[in-house]
């Protein structure tokens, strides 16, 4: 931060701190209009909150003014009370647990194979030559079209839902991780050779640590996709889970339950996102 201390403290007091004198006002404007320039933390937090308040405020306005029927858009407090009552009778946790289980099992199974295989694929051209044509074909196939097939093959147990997640996530992970392995600076590998690294150890000693931050980013992004595919998996064949209850709620016109399920998935997604950011900070402190 090269910002003069007096200007930064002005901004620190919040966005409402309107600066009359040109000098300081221009420099605040300059800061926020500079590409990639950090803005004061208080400012970004305040703005983030204000957007949420605006969205929720708009929700109140739409429902209370009667512009939208409650059958289509529930009032905020009815979503809240539904959530509380389902949390108290335990049914909410049962569904959350069912969904988290499916996402985690599917995601972990996929990642355990995709990370080492993707790194190998990006490092060894021969592995790339073998896998890439097939993988690039499969990864454009829509996951949804495989759901009936999976039901036919695997049945309607948890295995089927896990299979949908794995299918949706695995091939994307593979391609993105192979890409980051391929972009490892060649002279880094050369330097490692001149320091006595064996050819066979290159993936483990160089490619893996060099790509660790981007691998974790790939995992974080694909975790988000796993939550998306969860709903696809649960809409069709499930007896519990957040996707399942929203489908059931649609049949009973319980819009508040649908809203709650969506919000729950959003919150859980946000949590896993933060978890991966935390892991990245912890295991790759050099990349921040």
């Amino acid at each position: 931060m090269t910002l003069a201390p007096n200007t930064s403290s002005l901004v620190g007091n919040g966005v409402t701190a309107r600066v009359e004198e040109g000098q300081a006002g221009r420099s605040v404007l300059k800061v926020i209009a500079t590409p990639f320039r950090a803005v004061p933390r208080s400012l970004s937090i305040t703005l983030g909150f204000m957007v949420w308040i605006a969205v929720i405020g708009g929700w109140f306005a739409l429902t209370y003014s009667g512009a939208v029927k409650e059958m289509f858009l529930p009032r905020p407090e009815s979503v809240l009370s539904t959530t509380i009552s389902m949390a108290l009778d335990g049914s909410l946790w049962e569904h959350v647990f069912a969904s988290v289980q499916v996402v985690l099992i599917g995601f972990v199974l996929s990642s355990i194979v995709a990370v080492p295989l993707g790194l190998t694929m990006g490092t060894y051209r021969i592995v790339q030559a073998v896998l890439e044509p097939l993988v690039n074909f499969i990864r454009y196939l829509p996951v949804t079209s495989f759901v009936p097939l999976f039901i036919l093959w695997i049945g309607i147990g948890i295995e089927q839902r896990v299979a949908v997640i794995v299918f949706g996530v695995f091939f994307q992970q593979l391609v993105m991780i192979a890409d980051s392995a391929r972009s490892v600076q060649r002279d880094l590998v050369n330097a490692a050779y001149t320091l006595g690294t064996k050819r066979g150890d290159t993936v483990f000693h160089i490619v893996f640590p060099a790509t660790l931050p981007s691998v974790l980013d790939v995992l974080r992004v694909t975790m988000g996709w796993a939550w998306t595919y969860l709903v696809v998996a649960e809409l069709v064949a499930a007896r519990s889970g957040l996707g399942y209850i929203s489908l059931k709620a649609m049949r009973g016109f319980q819009v508040d339950v649908i809203f709650m399920a969506i919000a729950m998935i959003g919150i859980l997604g946000l949590c896993t996102d933060q978890l991966f950011r935390g892991i990245r900070r912890l295991v790759a402190p050099w990349a921040n």
């Binding site: 600076q185 002279d187 880094l188 050369n190 330097a191 490692a192 050779y193 001149t194 320091l195 006595g196 690294t197 160089i206 640590p209 060099a210 660790l212 790759a284 402190p285 050099w286 990349a287």
Partner: protein, 267 residues
């Protein structure tokens, strides 16, 4: 520091380059980078190569390191023909190649660790070489927290900690400002004096070449060949003031002339 048996028992080899040819690519796109180049570097010698850009200086070092496959000829280091990269030939690259995920100390420790040297001994080695390059205080920093000059000092320490027989340096100070460059040159000469490694050093800075070298090899433009070899013969230890001396200036003029002729040939 003499307690460290690594430094009391200097290990260095000769480098024999015999009629080496290097061609990149095939058919019409083929580039002949080196065309039958031959020379010999004796143990403990500080040999510097200068030449116009694109004449194949980096290629030559990559060949000696075993990182590139030659099209023809023979390279022998310490009596062994070069077939693949190995820890007996340390290299400092022009681009920064410190491992960003390792701290300064861990970078220096990397080679000894691959060799299976015990942790206690590794610590002594790391301490010694970080001290040599004056970065003991930065042992726990990550490369991204260092300046360009500091990074190259760590790279030198990392290469030396691995105790290679020869040290290959590809314009290691090319990206540094002249002040930093001078202090790096002084540092390198001091370290070389302690370790007595065979050094094959590439630069396009003529002052740097004469200041450092026992012998300067001047290369012609592509395809690269040795045009002339100049024995520097200035007394050591050398100081930066040498650049004012008449025989320094004479040598500098000679090299400039050789490089200039080359430019004229091309146009």
């Amino acid at each position: 520091m003499d307690a460290l048996n690594l430094t009391t028992k200097p290990k260095s080899s000769d480098i024999g380059i015999d009629n080496v040819v290097l061609r990149y690519g095939k058919g019409d796109n083929a580039v002949l980078a080196l065309d039958g180049i031959s020379f010999h570097v004796v143990p403990n010698e500080f040999c510097v190569i200068v030449g116009p850009s694109g004449c194949g200086k980096s290629s030559l070092l990559y060949l000696v390191a075993g990182l590139e496959e030659r099209t023809g000829g023979m390279i022998v280091v310490g009596g062994k023909p070069v077939t693949e990269p190995g820890p007996d030939r340390g290299m400092v690259f022009q681009a920064y190649t410190l491992f960003p995920w390792l701290t300064v100390a861990q970078n220096v420790e990397y080679g000894p660790k691959r060799k299976g040297i015990a942790p206690a001994e590794r610590r002594v080695i790391v301490e010694h070489f970080l001290h040599e390059v004056g970065l003991a205080k930065f042992a726990n920093h990550y490369p991204s927290q260092l300046s360009g000059g500091m990074k190259q000092r760590v790279a030198i320490a990392r290469a030396l900690a691995n105790d290679p027989d020869v040290l290959l340096m590809d314009e290691p100070f090319g990206a540094l400002d002249s002040q930093t460059r001078h202090s790096m040159q002084k540092l390198l000469l001091r370290i070389w004096d302690h370790s007595k490694k065979t050094v094959l050093f590439v630069t396009h800075d003529i002052d740097e070449a004469i200041l450092l070298a026992d012998r300067v090899l001047v290369m012609s433009g592509r395809p690269g060949q040795i045009k002339k070899e100049i024995r520097v013969g200035l007394p050591r230890p050398r100081s930066m003031d040498l650049v004012m001396e008449p025989n320094f200036i004479a040598m500098k003029r000679e090299i400039l002339e050789l490089l200039k002729n080359d430019e004229d040939d091309e146009h």
